[in-house]
Every structure is written in structure tokens, then in C-alpha cells.
């Protein structure tokens, strides 16, 4: 499996699309977590997220600010990455090329899962790093003291961020295996994350009890609850304390494992066209 992991890492690192997704992730994180809110504070404008107080953008809020995007928009990018890593093999017809070299399907898949987990960790680190720099710049500009979160809180935050990011990447992977393509899994995944989840939360859950109850078991609300438990701003889309942090951690981890396992089972069982 270490050979497959190495091969997958090489493919990922050499793939321009992976770097483009990372750049978009960091740009979105910077713009929506710091740039627009700070512009609002500095210019006194009204609008979404512009009502955040200056203290919320300072380094001691780094953990919550870095996790805020993962339940929805940064998560969507991780989902796309998961689809690309697994679905690309279907799109280019390279499954046969790889498998005829000798590794089993599960060895290749495990290599992909591990590579995605590493990529998710790298993305989370990068989001934290960009957030740290942005918050220090804001603190300096506003002559505010620079106070960092405790190391344990940072570690917990990175761990939770990795859990959420990897879960979305695994959702992308399982969709790619299930649909044996790239475009359709990306489309359906984004529709789920950006539209259906929000419609359920904003429209269905307040009206129908069982939907509200079911929400507590869905991946998005649990990712949002986990981020909220660690200080993500409540006005960020997808972030809401619908369940406790402990339950959210267990549910998100269960989805991560479940998505990966279903993908493995489907890949193992089906013919490679």
C-alpha cells in the first residue's frame, strides 16, 4: 500500500487542478473570513458578516475563524478534490493502466484515501496559516494586542478541521466510485452541499419535525456543529450548534469511515470498464 500511497501523492502534487483548488480555498477563506468583514468594520458598511466586531478577527479567534468555512464552502472544494482524485481514473480510463501494473483495487484505493487525508491536512494547515497571517496583519493595523490560542486549542482545531475536510473529500471519493465519472459527482455533491443542505436547514427543518430530527444525523449539520463547538462564528453559513461537539465529532468520523468503506466495497465489487 505504501507504493500506492507514493504514486497517489506524486499524482496529486503534480496535478495543476489540486493547486488551483488550494489557491481558491485560501482565497475564499481569506476574503470571506477576514477581508470583507474587516472592510465592513473599517468602512462602517452593512451586509452579511460585516457586523462582526473587530475582536472576532484577531489571532485569539484563529481556531473558530479557520473552521468556519469547512462545513460548507471550503468543504465543497474538498469534495471536488475527492472526486478528482478518484473520478479522474474513470475519466481518463487509467484504472486499467494502474491495475495492470499489479496492485489490487483496494491497495490503489487505500493509497488514494491516504493521499486525500494528507491533502486535507495540508489544506487545513494552510487555512490556519493564512488566517494567522491575516489576523496578525489586522491586529497590527488596528494596534491590537496579538494573543494566540492555546496550543491544545490549536491542535484540537486542526484535528477537527482535518476530520471535517477529510469527510467531505471521502464523500467526493465515494460519489466518484458510485457514478464512475467526474462531472456528475461534482455536480450532485455541490447541489447537496450548497443547495439541499441549506434548504433542509432553512425551510424544511423549521416546518417538519422529523426533518429537524434527521438533520442531527446528517454530515453537514454535524460538521457545522463541530465547527461551532470550537468557536466558529454563528453567522457563517452551515455553522450552527444543532448538536454537541462530542456527538458531532463521532458522527463526522463515522461518515468519514462510512464513505471510505462504501467506496472501497463498490470499487472491489464492480468491473473496471
Amino acid at each position: 500500500m505504501s507504493r500506492s500511497f507514493r504514486a497517489e501523492l506524486v499524482k496529486l502534487v503534480r496535478r495543476p487542478a489540486a493547486w488551483l483548488l488550494l489557491a481558491i480555498t485560501l482565497a475564499l477563506s481569506l476574503i470571506f473570513t477576514y477581508l470583507f468583514p474587516y472592510a465592513g468594520v473599517a468602512g462602517g458598511a452593512d451586509g452579511p458578516n460585516t457586523d462582526r466586531a473587530l475582536p472576532a478577527m484577531l489571532p485569539d479567534h484563529l481556531v473558530g475563524n479557520s473552521l468556519g468555512g469547512l462545513p460548507v464552502f471550503l468543504g465543497a472544494i474538498l469534495l471536488i478534490l475527492g472526486v478528482l482524485v478518484v473520478g479522474g481514473e474513470y475519466g481518463w480510463g487509467t484504472w486499467k493502466t494502474v491495475l495492470t501494473q499489479g496492485p489490487t483495487r483496494l491497495q490503489v484505493y487505500a493509497g488514494k484515501v491516504l493521499a486525500l487525508a494528507v491533502a486535507a491536512l495540508a489544506v487545513v494547515f494552510a487555512v490556519f496559516a493564512v488566517g494567522a497571517v491575516a489576523s496578525v496583519v489586522i491586529a497590527s493595523a488596528e494596534a491590537q494586542p496579538v494573543r494566540w490560542p492555546l496550543a491544545a486549542d490549536l491542535l484540537t482545531g486542526v484535528g477537527a478541521g482535518w476530520l471535517i475536510a477529510t469527510m467531505w473529500a471521502m464523500l467526493g471519493a465515494v460519489l466518484a466510485v458510485a457514478l464512475r465519472a467526474v462531472a456528475l459527482p461534482v455536480g450532485l455533491g455541490l447541489v447537496w452541499m450548497l443547495a439541499v443542505q441549506n434548504l433542509l436547514a432553512a425551510i424544511a427543518a423549521p416546518l417538519v419535525d422529523w426533518v429537524a430530527t434527521a438533520q442531527r444525523g446528517l454530515p453537514g449539520p454535524n460538521a457545522g456543529a463541530l465547527a461551532a463547538a470550537l468557536g466558529a462564528p454563528g453567522d457563517t453559513p452551515g455553522v450552527a450548534a444543532t448538536v454537541g461537539g462530542g456527538q458531532a465529532t463521532v458522527v463526522v468520523a463515522a461518515y468519514l469511515v462510512g464513505f471510505a468503506a462504501v467506496g472501497a466495497a463498490l470499487l472491489r465489487r464492480r468491473d473496471i470498464d
Binding site: R3, S4, R6, A7, V10, K11, R14, R15, P16, A17, G88, W92, G93, T94, W95, K96, T97, V98, L99, T100, Q101, G102, P103, T104, Q107, V108, D271, I272
Partner: protein, 300 residues
């Protein structure tokens, strides 16, 4: 003895369609085996089952005596249904990624690029390759493991005549070096030139198997002589009545071609005017079409 390839009753069904039916295929060590059949006959499906890409509906596959499972493809290289690589990588980078799976080193990558005459363009992006270059890269990937068994599915697709000749030379060279080669094709000339043995598949069934000479059937002689009736009678006396047929205004004699001189002497000595006497060889293409037609009719 562990044969490189051995299938028994291999069958693949897709719903109501049987793509491969009860196929027994044996490839012996060191031979170049041609797997011949028209498009859609089941060649690629069979090869995919050999490599574990497609699961058989029934029957067994053994490569060097191993049944499906981890490590079954050790010593086996393959190019199946056209080359497929990562478009954002160069030819060399693609092979290096694949070498990660096999543990092959940079030396081996350089060697196989050289073998398929792609070393000069190995640094170019795969997307910039011509179809022929892509095909050669596919063969290079199949050779990465220094295979004992090489499975090539239509390896000359997209190659120009020079490239096709190079491919035939490569296959012959690999065969001469002791590598067993299973090559599928619908190009008869290609198979005829490189293969020791040939299997013909039609509608998913093996309809004939043997050497090219065996498939052609017995050789003979074609005779044009006047008067034809007397020539036929004399020929029957000389070689036996059951070996002489009147076909298209001439005679077909089921005798070894090296008896032509003796036969000519006898016929001329009998006062017959011999206008033409030449070896008769069945056209492989005709043999192929006959076999496929017969196989198709049998299935129907």
C-alpha cells in the same frame, strides 16, 4: 506445468448478452499467441477477465497457475484497449508514477522508453503525443515489469506502417527472448507475421485454434491443362481420385507442392498441354471469414 495463460469455461454475461461463452484458452510458455476475431467478438472482454478487470460470470482463469488475488499479475504486463495515461504528466513522468506501483527504478523507465523509441519525446506532455506515440507509451508501460507474459490488445492501432513494422519486430524480439506474448488483433497479416499459434474467436466462442499453417489447411497444387477432362482423369490415376477437384475451369490437387515437377512430367508425358501448375495456399483472410461465419452460424 504452470502455463502462462489457462482458462476453462470462461464466460461473461452482461444481462441477456453473452460476451464470452465457455472459452478454453491455453497459451504455452515462450510462444507468441494471436487472439484473432472481428470487432465485438469478445477479445477485449476475455483479456480484461485474464487481468482481473472484469469478473467472469463463470469459469476459471489462471496466469502461471495463479488464480485471482493479490500478486496474480506479477510478471505480467498488459496494454488493454488502447493507451490511457495522465494528461498533465509527461510520458516519462507517467511511467515513473506507474513504476511506483511496481517498484521499478528510473533505469527501467529509461530502458523501456528506449525500447519503444520514445526516449527523445519522453519529456513532452502526454496530451501532445500523437496516437502512435501514445500507443508506444502504452507498450512501454506494459514492459515496465520486465514481464514473462505480455498481453497486448490491438497493439498496432494508430501506428503508421513503419510503427507497425517496429511493433512486429518488438513482439518477435520479445518472443525470441523467451517472453510469452498474447496479442489480440483483427488484422490478419499482423497475426500471421508474428504468431506461433492463433486462436480465432467469434461471438464470444473459440471457433478455431492452431498454427497459421494448420488454420490455412493442407497445401496443394492448382493445375490448368488441356483438355481438362483428360487431365483430371490422368491426375486421378496419379494421386488418387479423392485428391482431385475441378474448380473454376481448373484442377485443385490435394498433394504436397514439392510433387509439382513429377506431376508435370507425367502429365506432359501423357500428351497433355500443361498451361499452369503452381502451389495453392488458402488465403488466411478467407480462412478467417469462413471460421467466423461458421462460428457465428453455430452460435445462432
Amino acid at each position: 506445468m504452470n502455463l502462462p495463460v489457462q482458462t476453462e469455461g470462461l464466460t461473461k454475461r452482461y444481462g441477456g448478452l453473452t460476451a464470452v461463452r465457455d472459452l478454453d484458452l491455453t497459451v504455452r510458455p515462450g510462444e507468441v499467441y494471436g487472439f484473432l476475431g472481428p470487432n465485438g467478438a469478445g477479445k477485449t472482454t476475455t483479456l480484461r477477465m485474464l487481468l482481473g478487470l472484469v469478473r467472469p460470470s463463470a469459469g476459471t482463469v489462471r496466469l502461471f497457475g495463479r488464480t485471482p488475488g493479490a500478486g496474480r499479475l506479477a510478471g505480467v504486463g498488459a496494454l488493454i484497449e488502447g493507451p490511457a495515461f495522465y494528461p498533465y504528466l509527461s510520458g516519462r513522468e507517467n511511467l515513473r508514477v506507474l513504476a511506483c506501483y511496481t517498484g521499478a527504478g528510473a533505469d527501467r523507465v529509461a530502458l523501456v522508453l528506449d525500447l519503444v523509441d520514445l526516449a527523445d519525446r519522453a519529456g513532452d506532455r502526454y496530451t501532445g503525443y500523437s496516437l502512435g506515440m501514445k500507443q508506444r507509451l502504452g507498450v512501454a508501460a506494459a514492459l515496465l515489469k520486465d514481464p514473462r507474459l505480455l498481453i497486448l490488445d490491438e497493439p498496432t492501432n494508430g501506428l503508421d506502417p513503419a510503427g507497425m513494422a517496429d511493433m512486429r519486430t518488438l513482439i518477435r524480439r520479445l518472443g525470441a527472448a523467451g517472453c510469452t506474448v498474447l496479442v489480440s488483433s483483427h488484422l490478419l497479416g499482423e497475426v500471421e507475421q508474428v504468431c506461433d499459434r492463433v486462436g480465432v474467436i467469434a461471438r464470444g466462442r473459440m471457433v478455431a485454434e492452431g498454427s497459421v499453417a494448420e488454420l490455412r489447411g493442407a497445401a496443394g497444387l492448382r493445375l490448368l491443362a488441356d483438355p481438362l477432362d483428360e487431365a483430371a482423369a490422368r491426375a486421378r490415376e496419379l494421386v488418387g481420385a479423392d485428391r482431385v477437384r475441378v474448380v473454376d475451369g481448373g484442377l485443385e490437387l490435394a498433394v504436397e507442392p514439392d510433387r509439382a515437377a513429377w506431376l508435370n512430367t507425367e502429365l506432359v508425358g501423357a500428351g497433355l498441354a500443361v498451361r499452369e501448375l503452381r502451389p495453392r495456399e488458402r488465403d488466411l483472410e478467407q480462412v478467417f471469414f469462413d471460421l467466423v461465419e461458421r462460428g457465428t452460424a453455430d452460435v445462432a
